[in-house]
């Protein structure tokens, strides 16, 4: 254990400061220090993707980053997606297409999908499947997730 350092991040538009040991993972900082438990931890070795958040506009696995590395960064988490009581369109489409069961991977799926769609216009189904392979889901068999992302990416009904 080493001395804690002060870490300041902007999370979902709000400036937040907390103390973190240099070894503290960003995922633990978000969850335990800032109380944002919507970001889930499924493997802590960068494979499952449940902990995916956006750091300075890019999808990142928060279990593979240290909190001190995020000092000064802008972070978006699942808690920032909805507009008040109104679900984000992608969240609505996840419900419509039954893209979640237990909900544990869902925050990582949502944040990954938003990143994918932002960076890759005109996604094909194969590209969606390849892009969403960054996050593991054990419940759904992926079909609903692929359909939800496809409809979101197309901007229309599907």
């Amino acid at each position: 254990m080493t001395a804690k350092r002060s870490v300041t991040v902007t999370v979902n538009g709000e400036t937040r400061t907390g103390e973190a040991e240099p070894r503290m993972l960003l995922s633990d900082f978000l969850r335990d220090t800032l109380g944002l438990t919507g970001t889930h931890v499924g493997c802590e070795h960068g494979i499952c993707g449940a902990c995916t958040v956006h750091v300075d506009g890019e999808a990142a696995r928060s279990c593979l980053m240290l909190a001190v590395q995020a000092d000064g960064a802008e972070i978006e988490t699942v808690e920032g997606l909805a507009d008040g009581e109104t679900l984000h369109r992608l969240q609505q489409l996840f419900s419509k297409h039954r893209a979640l069961q237990c909900g544990f991977c869902t925050p990582g799926m949502l944040m990954t999908a938003l990143d994918l769609v932002r960076h890759r216009p005109n996604l094909t189904e194969a590209e969606i499947r390849s892009g969403m392979a960054a996050v593991l889901c054990r419940c759904t068999g992926y079909e609903g997730i692929v359909h939800a992302v496809a409809e979101y990416a197309s901007g229309g009904e599907r």
């Binding site: 499952c48 069961q101 237990c102």
Partner: protein
């Protein structure tokens, strides 16, 4: 075929109640709980497969900053007994019919004198943070004296093997045998006989949320509150009450949102008892959250059988005799006894009429993680054996695999069909309903028919492309007992409040039971409150395992609702000065038939039924609108399915590409077709993972080789093919809703369906895929053979 759909919620794909909180990131899993003054537990786990514990010293560990408490297994064993009552009992009807010898090893909560698998806990530390707890675990000084590791289950059963539980005198801790007809005679006289060794590998439930337990002890009331990521809150409470010497009512066990379970959270684990004990001992709340490496080491594994099967048949493909002797690699303990092993035997006959059958089982203890039920629970192993043999019979006779199956299938005219063996609930197995041949024909039609495929296959072979067709059929006992409970009440607000023992792990239980209740009461679904996975809301419950909740909880809810509705009608008749026979319950009101203005709301009825000065219930009637029922199913109801898949093999890499995968699935009437579809498809993809990617591997020293997601490969969206599911709906006559269970079904068939398809694709090379998983390198090697 389709059940009549009444005007109600049952049969409609009602949107899930669960979705909103989970999408918003407002779900609450065990790892999200923060309790005032909470400390964090971490376990020290064995790095050796088999060793005597020589010493455990906590001096350095307790000197670590933030360390609060440390305890070894030997000390804990003096405080708490081994997990009791874990072994599934043998019902009378089963024990009388199945030859059995079962002497299962008790499991201390932590290893006290020897460790028996890599990952077995031998000490626990509590500290102010998880980081500090892990530092302290690192600082434990422990000495071990290695013992020979027993890794191979066949060698484990040999007389000269090192005995892992010396008190038992053997590693073969259970032997079962069941028979019907005269197998020896029928086999001897069969025109054809084949024998094969068929192996089902070890893999696991692997929910995305690992396990976790948090507990808080209230000294003032001497009571405990426990949050566990479990499928069986009432079972956890029962074991806790026994282990801690407390009354059950002093312990509340809840499962908050649970991030998947699939059977892997379906029994009581040592941590379920250790964490609450620590909370009471330390006097502070304690939370333990398993990490992924720990989960792969320590949460139950599953499958892992070696079968030696023999089948006798005639020239037409009729099966005359079937014998299967198999070994289950149980790992170091057997947390739910021999139930899964017998479940394999009970599902070997599948949808086929086979008069002469014998099944023999040895459960072998080895130095591996314990083996316990995972989605399918013994059935995938059985179906792999039977369905591989069906293909081998077809190959031997030069027949189509579909024709051999249809030749032996039980037709709908034979329902109900007496299988001639007892189920594990002790009741003679009786297939209650369904049309197995129609299901197989439908699956074949869906993939375009056999003939068309064979033409394509032949053309492709001429072009150096390798296509294969795989089939797989199974039957599945669902909705098993012994019971499930439900309490139903109309509270002062007029809402229908339902609590039941089901513990959701993602299936959508809150939605499904709201549908069932809304229909039972003829009220808008918004007027139904569903309380689940909380022992404080129901005296006795069983939990969500074994594809049972939709059947058993729905029946208990229906029965308790009937009792409360009778009270509601009696009070309403009194208030309206009408005869009960003239009343009807609709939209949250009781009205006189034909006179809708003469009505009272459930809220008014609840007020009238309440005890006290203002009560207006009929004289002599009991106060309150509440009833509890315990549904004890007569036996299981049988779901079934037929699968068909087309694969193409890449010769250069050995990759198996799945072109089509169809399952025709019949789970009786579907309460929520959309959710049912999701259950089946999710299960199928787990089965495909087991077929092609997922495998838990040990080396010869008993070291786990697949301790991360980099080594244990779950299917991703990229590998997963589109899956097609057709639902047949043959209502069961065993319950008034006509529902069967469906949580496990999907996971059962894919391993053998893919094995059959790959074997078919590579038929010119004469290679049979009788061992799972099907690895690229093995497929590739077939081309060189």
């Amino acid at each position: 075929m389709t059940a009549a759909s009444p005007a109600g919620y049952i049969g409609r794909s009602v949107p899930r109640r669960e979705d909103r909180r989970l999408l918003l990131g407002q779900g609450s899993y065990v790892a999200d709980l923060v309790l005032p003054g909470m400390v964090h537990a971490a376990f020290a786990r064995s790095q050796l497969a088999h060793a005597r514990i020589v010493s455990v010293d906590f001096a350095r560990a307790l000197a670590e900053p933030g360390a609060v408490f440390a305890l070894g297994g030997a000390e804990l064993a003096r405080e708490m007994p081994p997990i009791g009552g874990m072994q599934v009992t043998a019902p009378k009807g089963w024990a009388e019919r199945v030859d059995h010898r079962i002497t299962l090893p008790p499991q201390n909560l932590m290893a006290s004198d020897r460790v028996r698998y890599v990952g077995e806990a031998f000490a626990v530390v509590c500290a102010d943070s998880r980081y500090a707890a892990e530092d302290a675990v690192e600082a434990i000084d422990a000495g071990f004296e290695p013992l020979p590791a027993v890794v191979d289950p066949e060698a484990a059963s040999a007389p000269d093997a090192a005995v892992i539980h010396p008190d038992l005198g053997t590693n073969a801790v259970a032997e079962l045998h069941v028979e019907k007809g005269d197998v020896a005679a029928a086999m001897a006289s069969a025109p054809h006989r084949i024998r094969r060794r068929i192996r089902h590998h070890r893999y696991a439930a692997m929910p995305l949320e690992c396990r976790g337990v948090a507990a808080e002890y209230d000294r003032r009331t001497d009571s405990l509150t426990v949050w566990s990521s479990t499928q069986v809150v009432h079972w956890v409470r029962k074991e806790l009450a026994f282990a801690l010497g407390m009354a059950e009512e002093k312990i509340r066990v809840l499962a908050p949102d649970v991030g998947g379970g699939f059977g892997g959270k379906g029994h009581v684990y040592p941590e379920d008892l250790i964490i609450p004990w620590l909370a009471r001992r330390i006097g502070r709340p304690v939370r333990w959250v398993e990490d992924r490496h720990e989960h792969i080491l320590n949460a139950a594994h599953s499958r892992d059988n070696i079968h030696d099967a023999e089948i006798g048949f005639d020239d037409t493909g009729r099966i005359l005799a079937f014998r299967d002797d198999f070994i289950v690699d149980s790992g170091a303990y057997s947390p739910v006894g021999a139930g899964v092993a017998y479940n394999t035997t009970a599902h070997l006959l599948g949808p086929y009429h086979i008069e002469n059958f014998a099944g023999g089982t040895v459960v072998a203890i080895t130095n591996k993680t314990p083996n316990a039920p995972y989605r399918g629970a013994g059935r995938p192993e059985a179906v792999q054996v039977t369905e591989r043999l069906m293909d081998i019979v077809a190959d031997t006779l030069g027949m189509e695999p579909a024709d051999v199956r249809l030749r032996n299938m039980i037709g709908p005219e034979r329902m109900p069909y007496d299988v001639g063996l007892p189920y594990r609930d002790g009741v003679p197995m009786t297939y209650d309903s369904g049309d197995y041949p129609a299901s197989l024909r439908r699956a074949i039609d869906e993939i375009g028919g056999i003939e068309a495929f064979r033409e394509r296959q032949e053309k492709a072979r001429a072009e150096g492309r390798w296509l294969g067709l795989g089939l797989g059929c199974y039957t599945e006992g669902t909705g098993v007992g012994p019971f499930e409970g439900a309490t139903v009440k109309v509270d002062a607000s007029g809402k229908i409040v339902v609590s039941t023992g089901a513990c959701p792990i993602g299936q959508g239980h809150e939605t499904v039971f709201a549908q069932v209740t809304a229909d039972a009461w003829n009220v808008p679904i918004e007027d139904v409150v569903v309380l689940l996975a909380d022992t404080s809301t129901l005296t006795m419950g069983y939990g969500s395992i074994a594809s049972r909740s939709t059947v058993t909880s729905s029946m208990a809810i229906g029965d308790a609702s009937d009792k409360v509705k009778a009270k509601v009608l009696a009070v309403a008749a009194h208030l309206l000065e009408a005869s009960e026979a003239d009343l009807e319950l609709r939209d949250g009101r009781v009205a006189v038939k034909g006179v809708p203005d003469m009505a009272v709301s459930l809220r008014e009825i609840a007020a009238a039924a309440a005890p006290g000065w203002l009560s207006r219930r009929p004289e002599g009637s009991e106060a309150g609108l509440e009833a509890t029922s315990y549904y004890e199913p007569p036996t299981v109801t049988w779901a079934y399915a037929s699968n068909a898949a087309i694969v193409e093999i890449e010769p250069d890499t050995g990759r198996v590409r799945i072109e089509r995968y169809v399952e025709v699935h019949d789970a009786g009437r579907l309460v929520n077709p959309g959710l049912a579809d999701g259950q089946v498809k999710g299960g199928l993809v787990q089965g495909l993972g087991g077929a092609l990617y997922e495998s838990i591997e040990y080396d010869e020293a008993g070291q786990l080789l697949t301790g991360s997601f980099a080594d244990y490969l779950l299917p991703t969206a990229a590998e997963t093919p589109p899956i097609e599911v057709v639902h047949m709906e043959t209502p069961t006559p065993l319950n008034p809703l006509g529902v069967k269970g469906l949580g496990e079904g999907g996971a059962i068939a894919p391993p053998v369906v893919i094995a059959n398809a790959v074997t078919d694709a590579l038929k010119p090379f004469g290679v049979e895929f009788n061992t799972l998983p099907i690895r690229w390198q093995d497929v590739r090697a077939a081309f060189d053979s």
